[in-house]
């Protein structure tokens, strides 16, 4: 493995990505919305009593079926508003947060896998001694590394926003919880992997960045499933569930990325140029 070539390629891809509006707009906007706008808005709105009452009505199913462990967790909070806001910020928003790594990895990979083909620069690269695997690995890292960095930065920001914005209601610093630590350290990187893997699968079947991006946007479906599932009181996130879920996700990533590596062959790529 020629790591120097791999990192040179990663630097190249990143500096191209930085100049692409089609990539930069979603990867700035989505985290800002999910990590800042949403929790901030929720914390401010729920300060209003009428709003809070509506909200607790809407979430009745969710609150009624709370498992024992979560009841214990919110026991220290006396008022219903405190509990409701806590549950929203810690439990309801957790699946949404996973969209950050998922989407980041997905969009950047779209540019690096499909965009490179679309811009017809792949042929020169293919004629170099860089091996198929080195090129493949560089493209994975190009997407994965920034996804992790933004996820980490995003979680710090999320922590700041929720601790500060919710302070008037919750009246203490409560973030991060064990759930979020597992989410950030274990599940988010795997979610980034899924975003990547989805793009690797899609990339060989489409010809343009836009097509790839739209098609592989379907990877947010598991997140929607988690979100709706919790909302309907069908499942509740817990560190244990996340550890197991993360493990499954890593397994899926591994399998898909391995399959992707096997099919990433210059002979195949060039025949499709």
């Amino acid at each position: 493995m020629n790591w120097r070539a791999i990192f040179a390629l990663v630097r190249k891809d990143l500096s191209i990505v930085r100049q692409s509006k089609a990539v930069m707009i979603p990867i700035i906007m989505v985290p800002v919305i999910l990590v800042v706008v949403l929790p901030l808005g929720a914390s401010l709105l729920l300060g209003n009593e009428a709003m809070m009452a509506d909200f607790t009505d809407d979430m009745a199913v969710f609150f009624d079926n709370l498992p024992e462990s979560i009841r214990d967790e919110i026991a220290p909070y006396q008022s219903e508003s405190q509990q409701a806001l806590y549950l929203l910020l810690v439990y309801q928003f957790a699946p949404l947060f996973l969209i950050v790594p998922l989407m980041m990895a997905n969009v950047i990979a779209a540019d690096s896998f499909v965009g490179e083909r679309e811009r017809k620069t792949l042929e020169a690269l293919i004629h170099t001694p860089a091996t198929d695997f080195e090129i493949y690995a560089s493209k994975l890292l190009t997407a994965w590394i920034p996804a992790l960095i933004v996820t980490l930065a995003g979680s710090v920001l999320y922590g700041l926003v929720v601790n500060v914005a919710a302070y008037p209601i919750i009246e203490r610093v409560f973030f991060p919880t064990a759930l979020w630590v597992v989410l950030i350290v274990w599940v988010a990187p795997a979610a980034a992997g899924l975003g990547l893997a989805a793009m690797v699968l899609v990339s060989s079947r489409v010809n343009t960045f836009q097509e790839a991006y739209q098609l592989s946007g379907l990877v947010v479906l598991p997140v929607v499933f988690l979100l709706v599932g919790q909302f309907a009181g069908l499942l509740y996130l817990s560190p244990a569930l996340l550890i197991v879920g993360g493990l499954v996700l890593w397994g899926i990533d591994g399998a898909l990325l391995w399959y992707g590596a096997r099919s990433f062959q210059r002979g195949e790529l060039i025949a499709r140029l």
Binding site: A8, E123, A124, T128, P129, A130, T131, I270
Partner: protein
């Protein structure tokens, strides 16, 4: 003589299309070897097969003693390629483009900056080195792509239409660089081109491909003499006998024309072996012949002769 490239019945299909059809040839070290042929004849595919980026459907190829199929990475360390489209990163500067490839080729770290600099200078790009390539003219892009092929001093160069789209001066410079690489640095050059005049002037040998098949192989001048029977021949005759000479020559040539002054005739499509017969006929008719000069056939004539044979056959 040492064969740098050897192919044996090399064949590549794309579905029903046979892009390269049982190609067998040898290319020697230090040669400039031309690959000629119509659009879609299989030149680019041949280059891809030789550099191990595409696998053959059948047949063998060995390049620099290596198997492109199995030792592709090792082979590509020693080859440099100018692809048909420049394939440059337009969002990066010229310098960044070259530096990237210097790192991929694993040039010693200490040499990278200097090597990149000298390539930029050699290809007249030094003053625009830090501008984004997207803003370059076609010729500048082509020169940058060419400098990238030369960057790691490969012993074997594959150049796919290096002068296409260049102005005459830029084309001359590019050709000079290729000649320099071959004559002074003993690099082997495989040159795919549509420019027959360039090929004639620069190539030691050429291969003409047609629908993937090798239809001619050899030194340009020899090929021309062997393959092109019909010549253009200039005759100088006694001024007053020009019309009579024209009539006589009509029997031997495809067309005959007389210049304005009258004494000079140009016979086109006169078969080489029949020149003496034509001269004899002129003499018998009592025409005073001062000069007979058959024109040397060019690669262009070869090309058109081959093409004609093909269209007649099919």
């Amino acid at each position: 003589m040492e064969a740098v490239i050897q192919t044996n019945d090399l064949t590549r299909h794309f579905g029903d299309i046979v892009a390269v059809d049982a190609l067998s040839l040898e290319i020697q070290r230090g040669e400039i070897f031309g690959l000629l042929g119509h659009n879609g004849a299989g030149k680019t595919t041949t280059v891809r097969l030789m550099n191990g980026v595409l696998n053959p459907t059948s047949g063998n190829v060995r390049v620099l003693g290596l198997s492109p199929v199995e030792q592709g990475a090792e082979l590509r360390r020693r080859t440099g390629v100018l692809t048909e489209t420049p394939a440059l990163y337009e969002a990066l500067s010229a310098r960044a483009n070259l530096t990237l490839f210097a790192e991929i080729y694993n040039l010693p770290k200490a040499d990278v900056a200097q090597r990149v600099e000298s390539m930029l200078a050699q290809f007249n790009l030094a003053d625009r080195a830090d501008e984004k390539v997207g803003g370059f003219s076609k010729g500048m892009k082509q020169r940058l792509a060419l400098s990238r092929a030369f960057l790691h001093e490969p012993e074997l160069l594959f150049l796919d239409e290096p002068t296409s789209g260049l102005d005459p001066i830029a084309a001359r410079q590019v050709n000079d660089s290729i000649l320099h690489a071959s004559r002074d640095e003993r690099r082997t050059v495989v040159l795919a081109t549509h420019n027959l005049r360039d090929a004639q002037q620069m190539c030691d040998r050429v291969a003409v491909l047609e629908h993937g098949r090798l239809v001619a192989l050899g030194k340009p001048a020899e090929l021309a003499r062997e393959l092109v029977q019909a010549r253009t021949v200039l005759f100088h005759v006694e001024l007053s006998q020009a019309a009579q000479a024209e009539a006589t020559l009509q029997d031997y040539a495809e067309s005959v024309s007389t210049d304005d002054a009258g004494g000079a005739l140009t016979a086109q499509g006169l078969v080489y072996d029949r020149i003496p017969d034509a001269v004899h006929a002129l003499a018998i008719a009592g025409i005073r012949v001062y000069q007979v000069s058959p024109q040397e056939p060019t690669l262009e004539d070869v090309y058109f002769t081959l093409h004609q044979v093909d269209t007649e056959a099919s």
